[in-house]
């Protein structure tokens, strides 16, 4: 906790660049913090879906981080979670309506996972761990970095799953490009119907999502290990990269999950 107040004091002096870049790799929300796994597994069946999800979540993340950070001295700490949720839900509703209006095809393929951004752990996690304690500009940059990191991770998964599972890349890109007025490009087909190979359908099904996620996490761990950083593991509170920011752990309580995992 002492470290955190120090961090908050020095944050203005500290370069904002660091707040941005930490979200990309070293604290990448999906690969390193293991947050937001539900959309990560569910919507990454194609790179276009992944991009749509990532950008939507990023917009919500940046906006909610700004508002929460601006209101951080007004919100009483006892009711902060409901307050955060109300702010996040407002932005999610705005984003959802915009997507529905301008990219209906994307709204259709993302389905329920678009409104579910409300309960995305990354957004609430950043609000709790960062925006609630830091000034507005730093929070905005933090949100942007985390959002870009999330989008990057989703696109990696989407690309792998789409190429192997469906034999296409950027399929459905027309719906996104039509906003910019570009038409006529709707992705490439890598594995055609009459080719020697056929796509490995399991990769766009749920098990393939888990395979890809696990393999990417292992790669991220390997990279982190090389840099001398701890591995991301689902091994209780102490192993959690968020541990230093966790309010419950600071009180010595820890989450219930930990006890269950160890029992």
């Amino acid at each position: 906790m002492a470290k955190q107040t120090k961090l908050a004091k020095n944050s203005e002096k500290k370069s904002l660049r660091k707040e941005f870049t930490k979200g990309l790799i070293s604290e990448n929300p999906t690969m390193r913090l293991v947050l937001g796994t539900c959309p990560t597994l569910a919507v990454t069946t194609s790179i276009v879906n992944a991009l749509g999800m990532g950008v939507s979540a990023m917009i919500v993340l940046v906006c909610s981080n700004i508002v929460i950070s601006a209101l951080r001295k007004v919100i009483p700490s006892k009711v902060r979670i409901p307050a955060y949720i109300v702010i996040i839900a407002s932005f999610v509703t705005i984003v959802q309506m915009i997507v529905k209006a301008f990219v209906p095809a994307l709204d259709k393929s993302l389905g329920v996972f678009l409104p579910l951004i409300v309960v995305n752990c990354i957004i609430l996690g950043r609000a709790e761990a960062f925006a609630g304690k830091n000034p507005v500009l730093a929070s905005a940059v933090d949100g942007l970095g985390m959002g870009v990191g999330f989008t990057f991770a989703l696109c990696c998964m989407g690309a792998i799953r789409e190429v192997i599972g469906a034999g296409t890349i950027f399929a459905g890109a027309e719906s996104l490009l039509s906003i910019a007025g570009i038409t006529g490009f709707d992705g490439f087909t890598l594995i055609g119907e009459n080719s020697l190979f056929s796509p490995m359908t399991i990769f766009i099904l749920a098990p393939g999502g888990f395979f890809t996620f696990g393999i990417l996490m292992a790669c991220a761990n390997k990279l982190a290990e090389r840099k001398g950083k701890p591995k991301a593991e689902l091994g209780g509170c102490s192993a959690c990269p968020m541990a230093k920011n966790c309010a419950l752990l600071a009180k010595g309580e820890g989450c219930e999950e930990k006890e269950e995992a160890e029992a």
Binding site: L196, F197, P199, M200, T201, I202, F211
Partner: protein, 325 residues
Amino acid sequence: MVNGKKLVVSASPHLRSTQTTTRIMLDVILSLIPALIAAIFIFGPRVIPVTAVSISSAVLAEYVSRKVMKRHQTIGDLSAVVTGLILALNLPVSIPYWIAAIGSIVAIVVVKQFFGGIGQNFANPAITARIVLLLSFGPQMGNWVTPLSWKTAVTTSATPLAVGYGNAGAPSLTDMLLGLRGGCLGETCAVALILGGVYLIARKVISPAIPLTYIGTVALIMLIAGKGDLGFVAYQIMGGGLLLGAFFMATDYSTCPIKVRGKIIFGIGCGIITSLIRLFASMTEAVSFAILLMNLLVPFIDRATIPKPFGTPKKEKKAKEAAEK
């Protein structure tokens, strides 16, 4: 010094079994040879290259993944050969070679080596690879060749379970015993599979608990479901991959319970899931899913069947004592 000889005191163990992993795997390979030979007779010479591709890619995958992970080399224990062979027996004969190779790579790399190699995998590599292939390449995995049609022109036909007992086109029970039916290349010849299974039990490589309870449970449920029709029971036991699964895949050491009591629970569980899928589900893939699902339950079965150490108080007594306190 007795008779001029030194008394040597060595550390335990003093008695060693001659059983080694390699020997056990060799036994499994030998026991599968009859099924493989039967497959060549039934489905033609293409069985040989399919099996060769499957085995060689399994061994290669094992070699490369151990090399990449910088662990000691384990291809010498023949477990990769067994996985490749069992996977080949689980494929239709018309399978494209590259799909067989992908299956072996999934089995060895994803299912086995990601979890630490031999003895550490929680699911049977061959069965999991089969399910992965089935979900990925449905049309190719469901392309069943008519038995003996390789001699003239290759035609396809449905499997006995897809046709259904007593319907037109269903093979006779004698044909099923000899393996003259559509299906995966190693699952059809009941005689060869039982021969291999008996060899394994006689060599004490596998305990009879799992195959007996597994097949027994399926027989019992089918007897009830078929209202006492023994022909239906025999049709269900010899149809599909039940014999291959019960003898060679459910009995995999690292993915079945340790104690006999646990093995019995495991076998009954497999039997119930297989029967339920066959009777009520729209898929015919009963055995693969039953074994995979029960594989996942093995740690819990093992925990529930820990034997009581000799001399410790009984459970009721313990509870009573605790209550008194």
